[in-house]
């Protein structure tokens, strides 16, 4: 069976204006909308498109986190994933521990591809995919904007600072998705009903034998320094004068 392994993370929705708690212990999440990390949605969409082209048979979606994460797994199943795996834990799982847990799942599922978002929009770490590839001893093609499968190889175009880089990797491989790889589909109501019947397996961290003890302590959260509001000018002449006064042109 040709399988694609996709990971998702439950994060504060993209459109929420995140605020730091007054006591500095974290950010406000009470009553805040939670969603699938947008880059992970792109990862799932890419996996579904590969399956729909007949190049894969099954898409398995996995997440790590508290019980509430099942909402996002159900959304992923409604988008079209075939099965879901939920490593249930209330602990804060750092990227390296997440990669170790995903490795356990990958060793069991033996996928031809693992597709992850390039970063989660909560901790903005951008580590888990690369770490999974390292631990798995397989190629990584990060920040992908185009993926073409060709037998036991994949050709991946990556968005790098210098432009677009293309790599050829042997499968199995890990791909992380950039913003413009695709546009994820919307979930339709009948699919939400169907998703309720799809298999969702819950696993616990202990049974996977991975130590998820935190190594990096998040000591204090602070809001960013605010820039001072500047001056308004009324025309180009005033703008040029202001730039010259400041020695900027």
């Amino acid at each position: 069976m040709k399988r694609i392994f996709v990971t998702i993370k439950r994060v504060v929705d993209y459109n929420v204006r995140v605020r730091v708690k007054p006591d500095g212990t974290g950010v406000v999440t009470d009553g805040v909308k939670m969603s699938i990390n947008p880059f992970d949605e792109i990862a799932l969409e890419e996996a579904l498109r590969i399956r729909e082209k007949g190049l894969a048979d099954e898409v398995v979606v996995a997440t790590i986190g508290p019980a509430d994460c099942q909402q996002q797994l159900r959304t992923a199943l409604a988008m079209g994933a075939d099965r879901a795996l939920h490593v249930q834990t209330d602990a804060t799982v750092e990227p390296l521990a997440a990669a170790k847990l995903f490795l356990k799942l990958v060793e069991k599922e033996q996928p031809m591809l693992a597709i992850l978002g390039k970063q989660a929009i909560d901790d903005d770490a951008s580590q888990t995919g690369q770490m999974l590839a390292a631990l798995w001893g397989r190629p990584q093609a990060t920040f992908a904007s185009k993926v073409e499968l060709d037998g036991d190889k994949a050709r991946v175009t990556r968005e790098v600072d210098a432009g677009l880089e293309t790599l050829e990797v042997d499968l199995p491989a890990v791909i992380t998705t950039d913003l413009r790889l695709n546009e994820p589909r919307y979930v339709k109501l009948p699919d939400i009903m169907k998703a309720k019947k799809k298999p969702l397996e819950t696993l616990d961290v202990a049974s996977l034998g991975v130590d998820v003890t935190e190594r990096v302590k998040l000591v204090k959260f602070e809001p960013p320094a605010q820039r001072q509001k500047g001056v308004m000018v009324k025309d180009v002449q005033e703008l040029v004068d202001a730039l010259r006064t400041r020695g900027l042109v």
């Binding site: 995140v18 390296l96 390292a134 990584q140 790098v160 790599l167 190594r215 509001k229 500047g230």
Partner: protein, 316 residues
Amino acid sequence: MSHKILIIAEHDGQKLNLSTAKCVTCARAIPDAEVSIAVFAADGAAVAAQAAALAGVHQVLRIDDASHAQLLAARIAPQVVALATDYQYLLGPSTTFGKDLMPRIAALLDAPQLSDVMAVESATRFRRPMYAGNAIVSVEIPAGSKLVATVRTASFEAAAGGGTATVSSVAPTAALPDHTRFVSLSAAKSDRPDLQTAARVVSGGRALASADNFKILYALADKLGAAVGASRAAVDAGYAANDMQVGQTGKIIAPELYLAFGISGAIQHLTGIKDARTIVAVNKDAEAPIFEVADIGLVGDLFQIVPELEKQLAGG
């Protein structure tokens, strides 16, 4: 006891990327730092010499191999791990190069990684942004543990020149996979300065309304010797190339002067420019959020303002 730090150099085979000099400044902020730089290249003579000239660098390690013409994370990481025994901190820039490579090193070392370090508070305490820069978090690592980190280049000045580090060639022993192969790099050819490191940046948003209209920004940029950037909305609409995107998911920059035309100022964009010395905003909408952070704001039609600005600057 000194803290031994190894920085993985970013370069294009000829020239050391400015991001490496910024990593040196970050590294030297760690108490009792002894800073080394590793240069992986096909022929690293020129780049190693530039690295050795950075002030405060103790040693440059040159790892030459024909296969290093392209720096593939899968091949570089095991070699860095072989070198890492002697070092407590391994740093790389938070550019696509460093973001790709450093986590692979961290996983092989079973060491934690901090991404986008923006300040060093002590040998074990650092500050980094989360939630697209909406939270700045102080993080603490266990004393004495190995640490891998990427450095948010916009937060540090480049190290000065005048250094006289020794350069030594080394050949780390590591099994290198060949499961990953470089095919091509299509670089946007441009005579303009590099967006990531330019002192001046002219940037356009969705209000430009077409790729063709971006030409007026290029003309202004050329007058100013500036790089050209774009908002995510402009890139998504196809008006500008992907590698021009400024913001949380694009490039995070800190130019002396940032001129934003027709950019409303979504938080994702503001995250990418908040370290700019001076922000100038031109927008039709007086209520646009960009004016909340701009040092100089002008409400008006960019299609009139940009050409007039170009003319007036030419006259000066």
